[in-house]
């Protein structure tokens, strides 16, 4: 990381704006799901907006992202446009994946969204490959792969981190530790106090940060991106956070102790970040309100686009199984 990275009010605002986009899109999706106007499995990122945004502001469009079913915040932070995103959730022909992949497999190479996987831990080895490609081409791209705390216990995590460290790949492993994997508490599944401590097992740079703290997350992300960009190898970032909406949309979250939930809610990062932006002077209430309105308008547009789009034709099932023979 270059020593000159300081978290200015402008940086804070940039983080907030990305986070707020995520926040509003997520809210809209939940409204649509509750009202039955959207029927899809949905894994809300509510509570995890800041960490994705703070990482996202350091990345360029050409950088690569590999994410998971709970990945809409990562995808939005990476810059995916709303129209193909919404249309994919609505299983439309105009969706990013023509409706064939769906929410769990969002792909959008133009903005670097290379893989969204529904299999826990599987993204990490693939991210290595993208990073290996960059290393071979010396194209200076960085690959970000995100996953949950639960994923840190699966074999693919181990194999991927070992290889990335050995080969000094330009990849960032971002563990979003929201304290639960489905219904299972972190401590019941993970034998180490902090996932980032596992970095030492690979002689890899590792850091645990409060993922809900814009400054801490921005600094850690900036350092990791700079390290990767400079060819100095991978980083494991563990961003501690909390998911407010259970595992999937509709999950009552009965396994989360009430007190724990309440305490987390009181530390909800979105209002805190908004307040910090105002305090910092980077933006006014009016400007933030205008930004919200602008986002809502973009969401309305994307929704309308999705609604107006046709479903895929039945023949679409025959396409994209194999390419043309080489």
């Amino acid at each position: 990381m270059s020593a000159s990275q300081t978290f200015t009010p402008a940086a804070l605002l940039a983080v907030y704006r990305k986070a707020r986009l995520i926040n509003l899109v997520d809210e809209r999706f939940r409204v649509l799901l509750r009202s039955g106007r959207l029927a899809a499995v949905y894994y809300s990122p509510r509570g995890q907006e800041i960490l994705a945004a703070a990482m996202g502001v350091h990345l360029e469009a050409r950088d690569y992202l590999v994410t998971t079913y709970r990945g809409i915040h990562d995808q939005l932070a990476k810059g995916i446009p709303l129209r193909p995103l919404f249309a994919e959730y609505y299983a439309k022909a105009t969706g990013a994946c023509k409706g064939k992949g769906g929410p769990m497999h969002i792909t959008h190479p133009e903005t670097g969204v290379m893989v969204t996987t529904g299999v826990v831990g599987s993204g990490l080895p693939i991210a290595n490959g993208l990073a290996w490609a960059s290393q071979l081409k010396r194209d200076g791209r960085v690959t970000l792969v995100t996953f949950g705390d639960g994923a840190s216990n699966i074999g693919a995590f181990h194999e991927a981190l070992n290889l990335a460290a050995l080969w000094k790949l330009p990849v960032i492993f971002l563990c979003q530790n929201n304290l639960y994997g489905e219904c299972t508490k972190y401590e019941k599944a993970t034998s180490v106090a902090n996932v980032a401590e596992r970095a030492a097992a690979y002689s890899m740079a590792g850091v645990t940060v409060n993922g809900n703290d814009p400054e801490a997350m921005w600094l850690a992300s900036g350092a990791a991106v700079a390290r990767a960009r400079a060819g100095e190898g991978p980083t494991l970032i563990e961003a501690k956070t909390f998911r407010f909406m259970g595992h999937y949309f509709g999950d009552p979250g009965a396994y989360i102790p009430k007190a724990e939930y309440q305490a987390a809610l009181e530390r909800d990062p979105m209002p805190a970040c908004r307040a910090a932006v105002l305090v910092s002077g980077a933006s006014t209430e009016a400007e933030l309100a205008a930004y919200d309105a602008e986002i809502e308008a973009r969401i309305d547009d994307a929704l309308q686009y999705a609604a107006d789009s046709p479903p895929p034709e039945a023949q679409e099932i025959e396409r994209d199984i194999y390419g043309a023979a080489a």
Binding site: A39, V41, G101, V119, N153, C183, K188, I317
Partner: protein, 338 residues
């Protein structure tokens, strides 16, 4: 949408049948233990609630694991070598790609490779099935892979009562069993099974007798076939339905007996057609009954593609009851082309 139960008979769902089998097995035999992701009550008793209540009643015989499918199956294998009858849950069948080495190179082979000194009485429960809009990585039927591996048994129930009785048999069987639960029909109902009654493994079941054509398969499409058989009987078409129950080892005898009688067969499964388990059934029938068949053995299965997300495409992907009906008629009307 129950296939068989009369409106007022006591019925249970598939989910309830699975739960009861697990409960009753644990109650009957203290060597039955259980492990899997989220399965204990602290975690809500499993994502699909099948194991709900078990950890409260049976304590540390039921353990929630990390997301570590290799560790899950490996621990089951090891504990079974030491005398337990572990039941491991792999949440969805697509994730069974992760512990394949443990299942195929170890669970299925240790009896043979040890010359019979050890054996692996584990049950792997998993769940899958297309039709719920869960897309390419959460819907696959992969039973054909395991059917191709000697040493493991592959079981797919088509009624709640069978689900109960077959799951009990798997748990008390001395070999590794893969028990596949259908995600789509989990809330469908059927007659209540008798407590403790095991349905034998390796035996196909003539679910309905008929004389014109045999429908042979397992799992969800058998439910469609039963409905169709009712319907077609109104037209004077007599359909025999052979439910394999155990896909492998295959009870060829029962299948061949049925097809020898009817002279016609339609083989059905949900998995994609090509290189699916149905191909083996077809191959066996024609090997043994060539010359006695009045029509080619037809297959009805899903398409050879990744399971798509969009409903319209997912329906294109899935086998259809109407396809089974069409195949039945086709075998009945078959005339040699010239």
């Amino acid at each position: 949408m129950s296939a068989a139960a009369a409106p007022n008979a006591e019925v249970i769902t598939f989910t309830e049948a699975y739960s009861r089998a697990l409960h009753d097995a644990m109650e009957m035999d203290s060597s039955v233990i259980m492990l899997g992701e989220d399965i204990a009550d602290e975690e809500g008793g499993g994502v699909f609630k099948v194991t709900k209540g078990l950890s409260t009643k049976f304590g540390n015989r039921v353990r929630t694991t990390p997301i570590s499918e290799q560790a899950i199956v490996g621990a089951a294998v090891g504990a079974s070598l030491a005398g337990f009858r572990p039941v491991a849950e792999i949440m969805l069948m697509n994730f069974i790609t992760v512990p394949m080495d443990q299942i195929v190179n170890h669970a299925a082979k240790l009896r043979f490779m040890s010359g019979g000194q050890t054996h692996v009485p584990i049950t792997i429960r998993t769940r899958t099935g297309a039709g719920a809009g869960t897309g390419g990585q959460h819907s696959d039927m992969l039973e054909a892979w395991f059917a191709h591996v000697a040493g493991i048994k592959v079981v797919v129930p088509s009624t709640p009562a069978d689900a109960y009785g077959l799951l009990l048999s798997c748990i008390f069987d001395d070999d590794p069993c893969l028990f596949i639960e259908d995600q789509l029909t989990r809330t469908q109902t059927g007659p209540v099974p008798e407590k403790g009654l095991r349905v034998p493994l390796g035996k196909a079941h003539v679910a309905r007798s008929g004389t014109d054509v045999s429908v042979v398969g397992y799992g969800r499409p058998i439910r469609d076939a039963m409905v169709l058989a009712d319907k077609l009987s109104g037209e004077g078409i007599s359909v025999e339905v052979v439910d394999l129950r155990t896909v492998s080892p295959l009870d060829a005898e029962t299948v061949l007996k049925s097809v020898a009688k009817t002279g016609r067969a339609v083989v059905v499964h949900e998995a994609p057609r090509s290189f699916g388990a149905g191909a083996e059934i077809v191959a066996r029938i024609q090997e043994h009954l060539f010359g006695q068949l009045r029509a080619p053995v037809l297959r009805v299965a899903s398409r050879d593609v990744t399971v798509p997300f969009a409903r319209v495409l997912e329906q294109e992907y899935l086998y259809k009851a109407s396809g089974i009906e069409a195949a039945i008629r086709q075998t009945l009307e078959w005339r040699a082309p010239r």
